[in-house]
């Protein structure tokens, strides 16, 4: 019933490049039954209607919320802050460096650095707000974070009746454990964990080396100091 001639499979029937190939499409029959094209359309819709009763892959919709499609583990939605251990405050990886705040395209992140009474940075956020009514789920904050602290969440049922407060996520709602991350995106999280572990180990080693060096330095210094002192006392004594 192919009314329109050789229009399918033309690529096979048309060898030779260099010169323009021509394909006649849209049917040049001398006489065609009017309404045949309409009839073909009717056949297509009838077939679709029948198949909608027994072929699941034909359906365009799912019956949410009873029925849910499986979401890809890579799906990203709003950001969250990752913490190690059990304490969301002490274990927070974020150092309030504000890189994400600067890079965020719609500027939906607001960070206040926590300081002690002397005004010295505590390297942790006092305030970390994300306005998810502004956030556009681009994931750039997660990408630029050098401290493996901010990641994209997969949670998508976040509707609320509170337009303002309900959509402004503070530290309490943003902070989620590393285990959550591991569950959400096993591949990425385990990679990060391994890297962090290696870094930690390296850091520890460096720390140990540094401490050892410092110790030796200190000892050497103390020795030197003692020497100078003895020398001084000796001098004083002599003076």
């Amino acid at each position: 019933m192919n009314l329109f001639g050789k229009w399918r499979g033309h690529s096979a029937s048309r060898p030779g490049s260099g010169q323009n190939a021509r394909a006649t499409i849209g049917a040049p029959p001398r006489w065609s039954m009017p309404g045949l094209g309409l009839f073909k359309g009717l056949v297509v819709t009838a077939r679709n209607m029948m198949q909608s009763y027994y072929r699941k892959d034909r359906m365009t919709t799912v019956q949410y919320p009873e029925e849910r499609v499986t979401i890809s583990p890579n799906f990203r939605n709003f950001p969250f802050l990752c913490y190690d251990g059990d304490d969301p405050v002490a274990g927070l990886r974020c150092t309030a460096c504000s890189i994400c705040e600067k890079e965020c395209p719609p500027q939906c992140i607001y960070i206040v650095l926590d300081r002690d009474e002397n005004g010295k940075s505590l390297k942790r956020p006092k305030l970390f707000d994300i306005d998810i009514s502004v956030c556009m789920n681009c994931g750039i904050c997660a990408e630029v974070c050098p401290f493996d602290s901010i990641y994209m969440d997969g949670q998508y049922e976040m509707s609320t009746t509170d337009r303002f407060g309900g959509l402004l996520l503070g530290l309490d709602r943003l902070a989620k454990s590393a285990d959550y991350h591991l569950k959400l995106r096993p591949l990425e999280a385990s990679e990060v964990a391994a890297r962090r572990k290696a870094e930690e180990a390296k850091k520890l080693a460096a720390q140990a080396a540094k401490e050892a060096k410092a110790k030796t330095d200190k000892e050497a210094k103390a020795k030197a100091a003692a020497e100078t002192q003895t020398a001084a006392t000796g001098k004083g004594e002599t003076a």
Partner: protein, 409 residues
């Protein structure tokens, strides 16, 4: 007790054939038992008969509004409404409540009286037209000698109503919609009526029950003698069906309410229950025109095979109605809309000539007495003009040569 005695005496009353007229019969019997005057009995009988038809078709309207959405959804590979009640069966109720509780808005520039009358005038003729259709052997709400004429006469009222709706809204899109609607209805009423003339000639009557009775025999013992199975009848059937789509403003001739062009045509400025009335009028009109189509060409309530007459005749009618309406839905789910000039051109250059040809063809059919001789004489009469018409159409409409070049560089 006497009631029971009478009803057992009239055993036919309880047969399924009489089921739709049961309320009417019961009321009449009850009144007679109370020694009511004759005119009261007749009047009450008519009222109950009319009430039955209205009740049946309002239920059908509610169901159709659901079934249409379900069918279109299935054609589009969706499920359709399924939240209100079991399989969405309560959806019409929900829709009705929504429509009733919506604010009724009358535009500031509208003529409020005509604006109010239009939706009523849309519903009334459809209901009147439904009254003359024979639904079953024993179920003809009003048997008129001039039933067919009555049907077409009241049908013309919808044009006035559509005009009133479009004009009285005092708005631009309704005005455009009304203009489209009137020109379309006037153009398509011609082929509609002309294609029905053949049936009148063959039957020799304008009475719809007589037309159905006339189609009651079977050729060769199994081919029903419906008008569609004759050469002139087939042509007339196609013409009538296409024209009935246009009369009912259904896709692909839904230009008066073409939503992608003129929002909702004459219904743009209507809301709430007035809009629901338009909706109802449209569906009742669809039932009426489909019922007439079945009566004229598909044998009305006649069974398709002689052995199947034990099924109540009104069930056959409704089975055919379901089939015809499903075809309407199927077409709506598939076709795009035509343009105004194409619509008119199609009516005047294709539908009306073919409809006119069915008149001499039907005459020859009667003259030759049908049968093989009739076929042999009529086929060339219809086929040759049809071939000429399609050739003209092919030159202008059907796929012309289009060459697409493939550039390699």
């Amino acid at each position: 007790m006497s009631l029971l005695a009478m009803s057992t005496a009239e055993s036919s009353l309880w047969s399924p054939e009489w089921l739709p007229r049961l309320p009417q019969r019961l009321v009449e019997m009850l009144l007679r038992n109370c020694h009511a005057p004759d005119w009261l009995v007749t009047l009450a009988g008519y009222a109950v008969a009319a009430g039955t038809v209205v009740a049946v078709f309002l239920t059908a309207f509610a169901l159709l509004s659901l079934i249409e959405r379900k069918t279109l959804a299935r054609i589009q590979n969706r499920l359709g409404p399924n939240r209100a009640g079991w399989f969405g069966i309560l959806q019409p109720v929900a829709d009705g409540i929504k429509m009733l509780t919506k604010e009724d808005i009358v535009p500031a520039k509208a003529e409020w009286f005509l604006h109010l009358m239009a939706p009523i005038l849309i519903v009334v003729p459809s209901m009147l037209a439904l009254g003359v259709i024979p639904y079953g052997r024993e179920w003809v709400p009003v048997s008129l000698d001039l039933g067919l004429l009555f049907f077409f006469a009241v049908g013309t009222l919808t044009e006035v109503a559509v005009f009133m709706a479009g004009w009285a809204s005092g708005s631009k899109f309704p005005m455009l919609g009304a203009m489209r609607a009137i020109s379309q209805m006037v153009s398509y009423e011609l082929p509609l009526i002309i294609s029905a003339l053949g049936v009148i000639m063959v039957t020799g009557s304008l009475s719809l029950p007589a037309i159905v009775e006339h189609q009651g025999t079977y050729h060769l013992g199994f081919i029903p003698a419906w008008n569609v199975f004759t050469p002139w009848g087939l042509t007339a059937t196609l013409v009538f069906f296409i024209a009935s789509i246009a009369e009912a403003n259904r896709c692909p001739f839904d230009l008066p309410e073409g939503e992608s062009e003129i929002v909702a045509g004459h219904m743009t400025e209507y809301s709430g229950f007035k809009y629901a009335l338009f909706f109802m009028g449209e569906y009742l009109g669809l039932f009426a025109i489909s019922g007439l189509f079945i009566t004229l060409f598909l044998g009305g309530w006649q069974a398709p095979l002689p052995g199947l007459t034990f099924v109540p005749s009104w069930l056959w009618f409704f089975a055919k109605l379901v089939a015809v309406i499903f075809t309407h839905l199927w077409i709506r789910g598939t076709f795009p809309r035509v343009r105004m000039d194409q619509l008119m051109r199609f009516a005047w250059l294709c539908m009306i000539p073919m409809a006119l040809l069915t008149i001499p063809a039907a005459g020859i059919w009667v003259f030759t007495g049908g049968g093989l001789k009739g076929w042999l004489v009529i086929m060339p009469l219809l086929l040759i003009p049809w071939l000429i018409l399609t050739t003209i159409h092919n030159r202008r409409l059907a796929p012309q040569t289009r060459t697409y070049t493939f550039a390699d560089s």
